[in-house]
């Protein structure tokens, strides 16, 4: 089956990406998953300066999910360009670089220096983490306002070569995600990555205090999947032509297919990597089988099917009764 998937002007070998922040620098995941055979590996969010993140505890286990308040830890742009990106390039890993910033200016600077890096040739996309807190707006995330999200997307889009897709990763914690999506598309986003974590809280049953040092955190994993599917469905309905990388608790090929039919062009695997770092190969194989079972020949055949009447959805081919049974 031809699994290749187009996002803007870039063709990925298959529709399966890793989600930002769930695959380390790539080196940690590499013993378990062949990164060169992914649709793309998405880096943890790269910001201008090194960040230690929040103190522990910064992750808690919740029902079918993980709650994290990491505080965007990372080595900073210099170390990323000197160490991490060259490693990914050397290993021919199709890479989506997630960029972040505490201000529109920082987003633009990170994107600009990234585009100028000699190791940039492995970059197949740039993801804009608009869920970063905006230091110039009392820490409110850019993703909460259409205007702020658009401004950040515009700054990154302007710095990145026009052949390289720019994806805005949106937060579900908004009143109307389609409005934010439209603003990002108008600002030049090639596509969207849906969704970032949803805000939550866990209580430590022993201390009866918030389980995370950051008090609230972002929920990820299968617990999030219905929220993510709703976001993908709503945004695809509003802007059908806009490519979407859908993700939220994808753990099986069937989960991935659900995102495609909701309107995603590609699918990201995140929290599942923490639980099963070898999952991508399995999920891709299961997705291929699920598509083939319905007579579909490529992932594109499934995209958006949930928006169409039931009669338009190919059914699972049932094996014919063998003739011997009648003799």
């Amino acid at each position: 089956m031809d699994l290749s998937t187009r996002i803007g002007g870039v063709t990925l070998a298959n529709p399966l990406l890793t989600a930002s922040g769930c695959g380390g620098s790539g080196r940690e995941l590499a013993p378990y998953t062949d990164l060169a055979r992914l649709g793309a590996f998405t880096t943890a969010t790269v910001m201008g300066r090194p960040r230690a993140g929040r103190p522990t505890p910064r992750m808690a286990e919740t029902p079918s999910g993980l709650l994290n308040a990491m505080g965007l830890p990372g080595p900073g742009l210099d170390a990323f360009l000197a160490r991490d990106l060259p490693w990914l390039t050397e290993h021919e890993v199709p890479t989506v670089v997630s960029v972040g910033g505490g201000s529109v200016q920082e987003f633009g600077e990170v994107a600009g220096r990234l585009a100028a890096s000699p190791a940039a040739r492995s970059i197949v996309g740039v993801e804009v983490n608009v869920a970063c807190p905006n230091a110039e707006d009392r820490g409110r995330m850019f993703a909460a306002s259409p205007a702020a999200a658009a401004e950040v997307v515009r700054a990154v889009r302007g710095a990145i070569h026009r052949d390289v897709p720019v994806l805005a990763k949106l937060s579900p914690d908004v009143t109307d995600i389609a409005t934010i999506a439209l603003a990002c598309a108008d600002a030049g986003a090639t596509g969207l990555s849906l969704i970032n974590t949803v805000s939550g809280l866990a209580i430590d049953p022993a201390t009866l205090r918030p389980a995370l040092s950051g008090v609230s955190g972002g929920l990820s994993g299968p617990a999030l999947r219905p929220v993510a599917l709703r976001c993908v469905f709503q945004v695809h309905a509003a802007i059908p032509e806009l490519p979407i990388v859908g993700g939220g608790g994808v753990a099986t090929g069937s989960d991935a297919l659900e995102f495609l039919v909701a309107g995603a062009t590609a699918v990201s695997v995140g929290t599942t990597l923490l639980h099963d770092p070898s999952a991508p190969q399995r999920i891709l194989r299961e997705l291929e089988e699920a598509l083939a079972a319905r007579g579909m020949t490529r992932p594109g055949d499934a995209v958006g099917l949930a928006h169409r009447p039931a009669s338009a959805v190919p059914q699972i081919a049932r094996p014919r009764a063998r003739i011997e049974e009648f003799s």
């Binding site: 522990t56 505890p57 910064r58 029902p63 999910g65 990491m70 923490l274």
Partner: protein, 269 residues
């Protein structure tokens, strides 16, 4: 052994690569589990039986570890390992003091074997609040050149606390190096004493990793702690990837659970 569960799994690839101090990351809850964090467990020992077995010891103190404890013979287990930085071994024969707290001591027995193969002296200190929480007292007595058991209430061995009794034991065993595994508070105390006596100390952060680790392989960075590097700068390092064995004097024990102001990428780093 009342307080803990011991489990042996057939895992030849893990057994073959294992070095003392390393751990395994076990998925709990079965195929459709709602518990997504792996449990990071120190390895007690590996054996060549059945192509290679791995034994680990754990306390069943949460739904995930209780599920693990309820596995039966021949059940399949999803396990990754061996993981993490092992204990470094002395180049020349040395007198080694191995200090284990509660079931953290389970991670010291493979180390003891490796040390003895290098003609090192192996002295054990096993500590726990109460007698039933002491792990491995008989094995320590059998394979150690000496073995001291310390319980807070005196229900087994000497009554007292490790920090009060350790200096005399270091003196008596003429320890050249201290290895410690177990509760974080005990590691901090042991590390401080060894450091003040100028004795190298390697600690295995089993409890910290068990409490804060989620993936075990270094991708999630949930298990970080402040550690001073060779260049003198403090970085937040991952207990699973850069540890679980670290040089005791490099860990900023009083700053655990914080980001020190001067840490790389910290408030003033």
């Amino acid at each position: 052994m009342a307080a803990y569960h011991a489990m042996t799994v057939v895992a030849p690839a893990v057994a073959e690569r294992f070095r003392p101090g390393q751990f395994v990351a076990v998925a709990v809850g079965g195929e459709h589990t709602s518990l997504l964090a792996r449990r990071c467990l120190p390895v007690y020992e590996v054996k060549p039986d059945y192509g290679g077995t791995v034994e680990f010891v754990f306390a069943a103190d949460d739904p995930g570890s209780r599920w693990l404890a309820s596995r039966r013979s021949r059940d399949a287990l999803d396990l990754i390992g061996p993981l993490g930085r092992p204990f470094p071994l002395p180049r020349d024969p040395a007198s080694c003091l191995l200090v284990g707290g509660a079931h953290g001591s389970s991670g010291l027995f493979a180390l003891a074997d490796a040390l003895r193969q290098r003609d090192c002296k192996v002295h054990f200190v096993l500590a726990a609040p109460h007698a039933h929480q002491v792990y491995g007292a008989l094995s320590a007595q059998r394979i150690g050149d000496s073995s001291t058991v310390i319980t807070r209430d005196g229900s087994l061995g000497t009554a007292g606390m490790v920090p009060d009794l350790l200096p005399a034991i270091i003196d008596r065993t003429e320890a050249d190096v201290v290895y410690a595994a177990g509760p974080t508070g005990m590691l901090s105390a042991v590390s401080g004493i060894a450091s003040s006596l100028g004795i190298p100390c390697q600690v295995s952060l089993g409890e910290l990793l068990g409490e804060t680790g989620a993936c075990g392989i270094g991708v999630c960075a949930s298990c970080v702690l402040p550690v001073i590097g060779d260049d003198g700068h403090t970085r937040m390092v991952r207990a699973c990837a850069e540890g679980p064995v670290l040089r005791g004097e490099r860990v900023r024990w009083t700053d655990l659970g914080t980001i020190p102001l001067d840490a790389l990428g910290g408030p003033r780093g």
